[in-house]
């Protein structure tokens, strides 16, 4: 029986694959190492602020630039809107992202006070779709360690956090469940969500 791939093509294919293989695996190792060192760097900066003796308000101020620099808030926001992102008007998208930034910042800064004396250990990294997942264990005094994965994407040109997975639950996926269900239950109208987010921010203190 005639082979479907002529032999010389097969040989060329083999040569090409074997040539590409080390490159691919080297790249994977590189991406993993890069993501791990990114998480170590970002984590150290966060922990330095959280564990310092400065006032809580000052900590919240200090953390803002870090979030802007190392967290891809726009990407997370788009993800959280699910199918409604595509059907939203540019104005709605704009307004939504602005509100989402504020909601996310509030949610993070609200937690700072709970994390006095925190330490973390960076574990292994593994590919997660197009991104890289880095495992860490976050330890707080008197409490069991929390297994937390950081999903790092380089889609924006530099490594940034696009998701945090705590004890198996992805933060952005859970948030998307919340938002899309809310929109669906309010007649599929994005304006309902925008009003609710507005209210949420106004009520925050």
């Amino acid at each position: 029986m005639q082979s479907s791939i002529p032999r010389r093509h097969a040989l060329a294919l083999l040569a090409a694959t074997s040539a590409a293989m080390p490159v691919a695996s080297a790249w994977a190792v590189d991406a993993g190492a890069q993501a791990r060192s990114f998480v170590t760097m970002f984590g150290n900066k966060l922990v330095a602020i959280v564990n310092s003796d400065i006032a809580l308000e000052k900590k919240k101020q200090d953390i803002l630039p870090l979030l802007g620099q190392y967290v891809d808030v726009d990407a997370i926001g788009r993800y959280c809107l699910g199918r409604y992102w595509r059907t939203a008007t540019p104005e709605q998208q704009d307004r939504y992202l602005k509100l989402f930034h504020q909601v996310l910042v509030n949610a993070i800064t609200d937690k700072i006070g709970d994390y006095r004396g925190v330490t973390f250990v960076v574990g292994s990294s593994a590919p997660s779709g197009d991104d890289t997942a880095v495992s860490t264990v976050i330890n707080r005094p008197g409490q069991p360690g929390a297994d937390t994965q950081w999903i790092i994407s380089t889609a924006s040109g530099s490594p940034k956090v696009v998701d945090v997975v705590g004890e198996g639950a992805s933060l952005r996926l859970t948030q998307r469940g919340d938002y899309t269900s809310f929109i669906a239950r309010n007649g599929g109208n994005l304006d309902g969500l925008l009003r609710a987010l507005d209210k949420q921010i106004a009520n925050h203190h």
């Binding site: 199918r83 004890e167 198996g168 639950a169 919340d178 809310f182 609710a196």
Partner: protein, 251 residues
């Protein structure tokens, strides 16, 4: 046993009242991800449970946190965990994970003796860290699909599989086979009430935050629960602890 009968009866009754899936492909994908055919009924159970919780368990848990210092609360938590270790053990065996089962067994032996019945988690310091397992997860490792999501009144988020697993766990708990008597009855009540209050105390802040920060707390809990159960089942499947202790290799 009454609880098991209740869950089983509920599961049977549910099969007759599913909502039809949506037509739009995007909406259909979302519907499938939520895995919630009985959403209408589940939301009712959720609303009722949260309302009852607000006026009963939550204030009790808050008072408990206020009155009992953290080290003591941790002790009660590990007592509850130790008493549940036989259930973990049988499920580890059922899942075909002998080394995990061995760890659960050793934890039980150490904590019941040196740990004063579980008040001190000595096993943890001896290198035997706690791991969870339950009937729902065992069924998951056997390849049983979760089935539709369920929110069980008072018991919380679950699924057809996890509801069935809960029934199995009640059957696996040795406390239900000790001869009935006043002492055991008292122990069982104290144990379950303490476990419930302590469990609520551990989670009350997280629950408060979900109720405050979510626009649709029901959907948030549904999503987080299903993701977590999937991850837990995966973790058990991928747990390849050596089937012999470490020292066996080093000799």
């Amino acid at each position: 046993m009454l609880r098991v009968a209740g869950v089983a009866l509920g599961l049977l009754g549910l099969a007759s009242c599913a909502a039809p899936p949506p037509k739009d492909p995007d909406a259909l994908a979302e519907y499938k991800e939520a895995n919630d055919r009985y959403e209408k009924l589940n939301r009712k159970a959720f609303g009722l449970t949260m309302w009852a919780n607000k006026y009963t368990l939550r204030p009790v848990a808050k008072a408990y946190i206020w009155a009992v210092p953290r080290p003591l609360r941790n002790s009660f938590g590990s007592l509850y965990q130790t008493m549940n270790e036989p259930v973990v053990f049988f499920n580890d065996v059922g899942a075909g994970k002998p080394r995990r089962a061995g760890d659960a067994f050793v934890r039980w032996c150490i904590n019941m003796t040196a740990g004063l019945g579980g008040l001190i988690d000595v096993a943890n310091y001896a290198g035997y860290k706690h791991h969870d397992n339950d009937g729902g997860l065992t069924l998951a490792t056997w390849g049983v699909p979760s089935g539709p999501y369920l929110f069980l009144p008072a018991l919380g988020p679950s699924s057809f599989r996890d509801g069935l697993g809960y029934g199995l766990d009640v059957g696996l708990s040795p406390w239900n086979y000790v001869p009935r008597g006043y002492g055991l009855l008292t122990f069982n009540w104290a144990y379950n009430i303490m476990g419930t209050i302590n469990g609520m105390a551990t989670n009350v802040d997280a629950l408060d935050q979900v109720m405050k920060d979510s626009l649709d707390p029901y959907a948030t809990i549904r999503s987080a629960y299903q993701q977590q159960r999937k991850a837990m089942a995966e973790a058990i499947k991928n747990d390849h602890r050596a089937t012999v202790p470490d020292w066996y290799h080093t000799r």
